[in-house]
């Protein structure tokens, strides 16, 4: 269908590329390793940034739940920060870390950290109180009650937040790589745009979508599915 629309010749090929052209471009990109290098660089950044935000987001969420004062003061702030597009952090990141790897990773981390901590917070707050009552009468207190009841009970919501965080991390990465001096998918995307090479732009878009699908299917999908299985949520 895509090819068909292209063949009608309604738009010139520098505005609307053909799938064949995109495909050839991608093959070329993979053959000269430029796509592979870019993907690897991007994956490295997103994984690093995401790991940081995972650690920070989870601990921030747990910390806020544990302390009522923090909950009252920080929760609205978090909500506000979550609505802030990650590209807004770019100028600050440049000032703090300079143009380069660190600032990109910072933007990725900050772009996804709030949705993860909000989900952790929400998940834990919505744990049915009866579970905690059971845990208390069974003698579970403090840290033990947390790890054995609160976190497992909140896990489905936390996973959803992590998934959301992952997609936010990608968006942030694209924003961040606008300042990349040498590599990454965002860099190739910008390069393609500057050279009016729509084949390359769409090729990068397709790669990003495919990576997203793969990660969702093999990482989050698996985890989510096994949780749904356990909780009996797959039975309609």
């Amino acid at each position: 269908m895509w090819e068909g629309v292209f063949r009608t010749g309604l738009w010139p090929d520098y505005l609307f590329p053909s799938p064949l052209g995109v495909f050839h471009n991608a093959v070329e990109g993979f053959q000269d390793h430029s796509f592979i290098i870019a993907t690897a660089a991007s994956m490295k950044r997103v994984l690093l940034g995401y790991s940081i935000s995972l650690a920070a987001g989870l601990s921030l969420g747990l910390l806020i739940v544990a302390c009522r004062f923090l909950d009252e003061t920080l929760s609205p702030l978090l909500l506000g920060l979550q609505t802030l597009p990650s590209i807004c952090w770019l100028p600050l990141a440049i000032l703090w870390f300079g143009i380069g790897e660190d600032s990109i990773i910072f933007v990725v981390a900050i772009g996804s950290v709030f949705s993860i901590s909000m989900a952790t917070l929400g998940g834990i707050k919505n744990v049915p109180p009866i579970y905690m009552r059971v845990a208390r009468t069974m003698g579970a207190k403090g840290f033990k009650a947390y790890t054995s009841v609160v976190i497992p009970a909140a896990l489905p919501t936390i996973i959803t937040g992590m998934k959301q965080g992952w997609s936010f991390a990608w968006r942030a990465l694209m924003a961040g790589e606008l300042l990349s001096p040498k590599d990454g998918l965002g860099y190739i995307l910008t390069l393609g745009r500057d050279l009016h090479d729509m084949n390359q732009v769409v090729g990068v878009m397709v790669i990003i979508i495919i990576i997203g699908l793969i990660i969702d299917k093999f990482v989050f999908g698996r985890v989510e599915c096994s949780i749904r299985q356990r909780w009996g949520l797959n039975r309609a």
């Binding site: 059971v134 069974m138 003698g139």
Partner: protein, 278 residues
């Protein structure tokens, strides 16, 4: 021995304070099987929660073996109206949960869990997930989880209220057997008088507004008991009469005094001619 001394409870809400309990005195001997019955809202569950340590009494004190109870603990296990099993754990892991917290070695707790699952006839389902069980089975798992803690006091808060009558009667028999075998102290909250008389040795009738102990009945009947037993029916009727007054009082206060219990002794239905054809 468990002792409640002048226990009172006041719930404060934005619209004012509610006196849920007033001066409740109660002594339960070791190994006794006691039930609390009363109209809804008379504070039965609150008494249980105070004993469990899940709620703090506003006044008065609770002692166990002469020591004051502060907070919840694994020596007083509660079985709730809903099974409250953890959906992320398998059946056997649910039963093991308390022992795991207590630091019992893995092999020992698995053996014990299987033992208590056997008591409720659920060993076949040990590695199932909770959602794969029926409501009655879940409640049985909850029972074996409570028993597995080997606490000397078991507190049961209307544990069979949500079950169908067949399952309930099976569990009644099982619970009687388990009590005879383990000799635990059991405090059983219910609104079902028949259930209370069937299971327990002492039935404590509570009154509402504010919640307090009204009367006590001892049940001297051999076990296993059956609901059709004439002696049991007689005691049930006695308690029912006592309760009726209370229930009526609660209903009157809830329905703004526009409510009375009909005094008629047989049902007058328009299409019945009451033996007119004789």
């Amino acid at each position: 021995m468990l002792k409640l001394k002048g226990a009172g409870k006041i719930f404060s809400t934005p619209s004012g304070n509610t006196k849920a309990l007033e001066n409740v005195n109660l002594t339960v001997a070791r190994g006794e099987f006691v039930s609390l019955v009363g109209p809804s809202g008379c504070g039965k569950t609150t008494v249980l929660n105070i004993i469990a340590g899940l709620e703090q009494a506003s006044s008065g004190k609770v002692y166990k073996e002469g020591r004051e109870i502060m907070g919840a603990g694994p020596d007083r296990i509660v079985m709730f109206q809903e099974p409250a099993l953890f959906p992320w754990l398998k059946v056997v892991d649910n039963v093991e949960y308390g022992m795991k917290i207590a630091g019992v070695p893995k092999k020992e707790r698995r053996e014990k869990a299987m033992h208590y699952l056997k008591m409720v006839h659920l060993t076949r389902f040990a590695s199932h997930f909770i959602h794969e069980l029926s409501g009655g089975m879940r409640q049985r798992v909850a029972l074996s989880r409570a028993l597995a803690m080997d606490s000397d006091i078991l507190l049961m808060d209307e544990p069979f209220a949500a079950l169908d009558s067949q399952t309930r009667s099976i569990l009644h028999t099982e619970l009687q057997q388990i009590w005879c075998a383990t000799k635990k102290t059991i405090i059983f909250v219910t609104h079902n008088v028949e259930e209370a008389v069937l299971l327990t040795d002492r039935v404590i009738v509570m009154a509402a507004n504010p919640g307090r102990v009204k009367k006590e009945y001892r049940v001297y009947l051999a076990r296993p008991r059956e609901t059709e037993h004439a002696g049991l029916v007689r005691i049930v009727n006695q308690i029912m009469k006592e309760l009726k007054e209370e229930v009526e009082k609660v209903a009157r206060s809830e329905y703004d005094s526009g409510w009375t219990l009909k005094k008629s002794t047989f049902l007058l239905s328009p299409d019945s001619n009451v033996g007119g054809s004789i």
